[in-house]
Amino acid sequence: MRYRLGQRVRVRNAPSVGHVRTPGYVKGKTGRVERVHGVFGDPESLAYGGDGLPGQPLYLVGFEQREVWSGYAGGACDRVYVDVYEHWPEEAP
């Protein structure tokens, strides 16, 4: 596991090529690792008949809503939680 609970990570703002589970709205956004789900077959391989190996750790990442949506009118504590495979985030300061 590259990341640990509570660590801040930034999702790479890279184009989705092929089948990608990372939703566009968190690309380039920074959040915090809230949970480590475990290691799963890589969907970007499984989607094309591949074996899904090497497996990818999957993290639950919490993002502040006001960081994700410009003009967000809700509370400052509101978060959106997204499952992100390990090859999408990078360390954030």
Binding site: Y25, A47, G49, G71
Partner: protein, 105 residues
């Protein structure tokens, strides 16, 4: 509230935060028999190792935009199942056409 577009183009299925002028239909609605069958078919195919749920998703995501937009939820599943099974050589398009002919006849 606006989607903070940050340069990367999104595929048709990647809809979180898309602006819409229409209210979202949150009502429950009963499924038609063919929709239940499509769900069962997909689960059976996965259980028997003929396709993965990731392949199902990929098949849906690669639908032409206008076809995707015009299709219902399980129509997208059926479209993808057919495409993936043909691609993997599990079924041939001629087999599907023949069966459709039988059903129509």
């Amino acid at each position: 509230m606006e989607y903070d577009s940050h340069a990367v183009a999104r595929l048709v299925h990647d809809r979180g935060g898309w602006l819409t002028s229409e209210p979202i239909d949150r009502s429950e609605h009963p499924l038609a028999d063919w929709e239940l069958l499509t769900d069962a078919l997909q689960q059976s195919l996965v259980r028997n190792g003929l396709m993965t749920v990731d392949e199902l998703r990929r098949g849906i995501e690669s639908m032409p935009r206008e076809v995707y937009e015009a299709a219902g939820y399980y129509e997208r599943w059926a479209y993808s199942i057919e495409g993936v099974l043909v691609e993997k050589g599990v079924i041939a398009p001629a087999e599907i056409d023949r069966k459709l002919g039988e059903l129509a006849g």
